[in-house]
Amino acid sequence: MLRVDDLHAYYGKSHILQGVSFQVSEGEIVSLLGRNGVGRSTTVKAVMGEVPPQGSIEFKGEQIAGKKSFEVANLGLGYVPENRDIFPTLTVRQNLLLGAKHGKRPNRWSVEEMFSMFPNLAERADVHGGVLSGGEQQMLCMCRTLMGDPDMIMIDEPTEGLAPRIVEQVANMLREIANRGIAILLVEQKLSIALKISHRLYVMGHGRIVYEGTPESLLQADDVRSEWLEV
């Protein structure tokens, strides 16, 4: 589905990504872990074309490095940014409708389905997005991206600042998305849900991938966890 090879990216003169390579297959949940500032978010932004990438980024067999964000999105790659970015002056329903693309093929998701999955979003359908709680905003943001009917989504720190009960909901939702055949790249700092739901995971450090494995193998690898993950 997504194959990133020797990806480099710069912010001004600082060399943020120094040859990142990873891949995500169809229907797979893959986590990209690492401490703050190691380049996880930059990796995702480079794939989306928000940060100019150097190297190879292949999505569904097509080279997308250098394409504009909206072109990448229209190829079926969804992105749920870290800051959630709900449109505050639009209602929940309008936020969802903006995620949908101009009706071409039948959509895997509909507004009604989103509302039945998340009754608390349904209750607030006509409320402005700006007044939602953090958890509701995260749900809305994921749903909004799904409305575009992506084949894969990249989701940046979905559990940050959320109560444990909501974190559990987010994890269930990600499983549900994967069950429908949508690949997920989960970018996280904490191990909590990554260990529970990922099929495979990568650990980043200093702009590179420093470890690749499964949740089970990472649990065994105490040295990797203490050197690259634990604070």
Binding site: M48, F70, F87, L97
Partner: protein, 316 residues
């Protein structure tokens, strides 16, 4: 007294709605670019001149439709091939660019159409009094100006708040990256908004040309007032621009229609000054005389007491 008031209100409405047609585009473009487009009123002037030239050959109604389209297309091209590049150099460069563009358009207008006033006439079809009140006529053309402006306001409001495109524009103004990540072509949307904004300015020029006269200084006359409106209304606020447009239109119209002045104030206070006093001009000042500076006076007051404008919520 009542007849003066009614006609002043109607004329104020005509001016106010016309001003709004310019201010709405300007304030939308401001929310997108983050800078005021100094050339906005120049597109208004272009609208009047292009429509005049078309009307000479094909009649007023063809000009009414074609001129805004042509001006809007020119606006879209300016955004696509000039402003978008200048944007990367920052706000100051953009500001200077639009400033230069205003001069360029003014010179171009003088070059192609000459420095004299054009005899741009309202159509014969509307050359009759719409109604007569207290023996005074209100021309059908002015009624037509009100109708078009109201239709544009309603249409614009509907598109921006109800249609999908309008929602995308609203979202793109505050969150361009997020909107792009959802698969919408944001630069294309901005080009469209710029095009529609300049087309509205052009349309204002087309319908104002026959009434406010079509001459190379018309951009300058209205341009400064439109900036005043956008600032008074609150930068980036469409509702604010609407209220401020009507306020300024009515304020000026009432001031011109009234026969009050400093002498009335003085006699009311029981004061009297000698006719040969050096400041005699000041003692005899009347409201119609100071009408042109009233918008700027209002601007200063608003900036002192409510720096964000009436409806603005400027981010700190």
């Amino acid at each position: 007294m009542l007849e003066v008031f009614i006609f002043a209100t109607l004329n104020g409405l005509v001016t106010g709605l016309l001003l709004f047609m310019l201010a709405s585009g300007l304030t939308l473009i401001f929310s997108m670019m983050g800078v005021l487009n100094f050339a906005h009123a120049s597109f208004y002037m272009l609208g009047a001149y292009v429509a005049y030239s078309i009307s000479v050959h094909l009649g007023f109604w063809t000009g009414l439709i074609l001129a805004p389209l042509l001006v809007g297309m020119l606006g879209a091209l300016v955004e696509r091939y000039a402003l978008r590049r200048v944007h990367q150099a920052g706000h100051v460069a953009e500001l200077v660019f639009t400033f230069g563009l205003a001069f360029l358009i003014e010179e171009a207008v003088q070059f192609f159409w000459g420095p004299d006033t054009k005899n741009y006439q309202s159509p014969d079809l509307l050359d009759f009094p719409l109604f007569t009140l207290f023996g005074q006529e209100f021309s059908a053309y002015r009624g037509f100006m009100i109708a078009i402006s109201v239709a544009i306001f309603v249409g614009l409001y509907y598109v921006l708040t109800r249609s999908r495109v309008g929602l995308i524009i609203q979202a793109a103004i505050t969150h361009p990256h997020t909107v792009a990540n959802l698969g919408h072509n944001v630069p294309l949307i901005f080009m469209g908004v710029f095009g529609v904004g300049t087309a509205l300015a052009g349309l204002a020029g087309v319908i104002a040309g026959p009434v406010l006269t079509t001459f190379p200084g018309m951009a300058l006359v209205l341009g400064s007032i439109v900036f005043v409106i956008v600032v008074i209304g609150g930068l980036g606020s469409l509702e604010g621009a609407f209220i401020a447009s009507l306020m300024i239109g009515l304020l000026q119209s009432y001031a011109i229609a009234s026969d009050l002045g400093v002498p009335d104030l003085l006699s009311w206070l029981g004061l009297e000054f000698a006719r040969d006093h050096p400041l005699n001009d000041l003692w005899t000042l009347t409201l119609p005389q100071i009408a042109p500076i009233l918008p700027f006076l209002l601007l200063v007051l608003v900036l002192i007491f409510r720096p964000t404008g009436l409806m603005g919520n400027r981010e700190q």
